[in-house]
């Protein structure tokens, strides 16, 4: 679901970098306000590694195939560390694996990073609107929602970006159909990543609950 070089216009690339700069500044400022800003770096670094590798894991969803993104999971577990983690992960994916590109790094970081921050706030909602649910299922349900919606929102941004940037020379109907097929294929992936996020969060809650406080 990465946007490669040459797909979107230069203006979109520049806007992507501008939004990425803003979001990185905001995230780093939030991190810097923590009592110990470096305390969560090990967790963030390990999850950046997971994010980096995840895009090479493909799941066949006929007639196409999708790869794991894990942006919702990073948002839920890392909070504001998720944005810089995704930015760094995407940079190395573009450099090493060839997923995405350097000109579209800003667009991709915005597309995946901002939904990750939203996923964090969805997960934090377990302490407010989540109070209506019994305490035993609250964490799992909100982790699932964060993981699934983080990816879902990213897929919607991807859909909007590529459908608005179909070049004039290609068959627009066929391209639109292909884009819609790929986007619909992300619905099962949302379920997979949501369940995976819930399992990881429930595991962390059992073995090291302080990791989820951030």
């Amino acid at each position: 679901m990465h946007i490669p070089d040459g797909i979107v216009s230069a203006q979109v690339c520049a806007a992507g970098y501008a939004l990425t700069g803003l979001a990185t500044w905001y995230s780093l400022r939030q991190i810097n306000r923590k009592p110990d800003p470096t305390a969560e770096i090990p967790k963030a670094s390990l999850l950046t590694a997971a994010f980096f590798v995840a895009s090479s894991i493909y799941i066949p969803v006929p007639p196409t195939s999708v790869h794991l993104i894990l942006n919702g999971l990073l948002g839920v577990v890392l909070g504001y560390f998720a944005f810089p983690a995704i930015l760094i992960g995407l940079f190395f994916q573009a450099l090493v694996i060839g997923h995405g590109g350097l000109t579209t790094l800003g667009v991709n970081a915005t597309m995946m990073g901002i939904p990750a921050l939203l996923a964090y706030h969805i997960f934090q909602g377990r302490n407010t609107i989540g109070k209506v649910l019994p305490a035993s299922v609250r964490t799992g349900v909100f982790a699932f929602l964060g993981g699934a919606l983080g990816l879902g929102i990213a897929a919607l941004i991807f859909l909007a970006l590529v459908i608005l940037n179909i070049p004039a020379d290609v068959d627009a109907n066929a391209e639109r159909a292909a884009i819609l097929t790929l986007s619909i294929a992300h619905i099962p992936l949302m379920m997979v990543e949501g369940i995976f996020t819930a399992m990881l969060v429930l595991f962390l809650q059992r073995v090291k609950p302080e990791l989820l406080e951030g």
């Binding site: 490669p4 390990l46 060839g98 790929l182």
Partner: protein
């Protein structure tokens, strides 16, 4: 990429497609460039917002072909002369030399990925030492 759209642009007209088509079930597409137009033939592959642009240098059969270009791209040019054909998105390293993933040369992908992961783990270990 299966059923991806292909647009081929001749060197003299980069704005209008010279030929369009769709890749087959193995993700291949074969075309025969016009030998009277030497230069870089651009092949755009596109499907669902993914794709690439591959430049295939073609040395013309006419005497006016640019000598330096023909010399620089001997391997690629022979691959792409009209007798054979371009297959974007497939192997043929000679033709894909100027496209594709910007990857460190001659290092297997898993080695560079493992090195990256070790970098992240090392960062984690470094910051996990705690304050002295």
């Amino acid at each position: 990429m299966r059923a991806a759209q292909i647009n081929i642009y001749a060197p003299d007209n980069p704005s209008e497609p010279w030929q369009t088509g769709v890749t087959d079930d193995d993700g291949r597409f074969v075309f025969t460039p016009d030998p009277s137009q030497p230069g870089n033939w651009e092949v755009m592959v596109r499907q669902a917002g993914h794709g690439d642009v591959v430049a295939i240098p073609v040395a013309g059969t006419s005497a006016t072909a640019d000598a330096t270009m023909a010399e620089d791209s001997t391997a690629a040019a022979t691959e792409a002369t009209p007798e054979t054909a371009g297959e974007p998105g497939n192997s043929r390293p000679a033709m894909l030399a100027n496209a594709g993933a910007p990857r460190a040369a001659n290092v297997p992908l898993w080695v560079s990925m493992a090195a990256m992961v070790w970098g992240f783990v090392g960062t984690a270990l470094f910051f996990a030492r705690g304050k002295r």
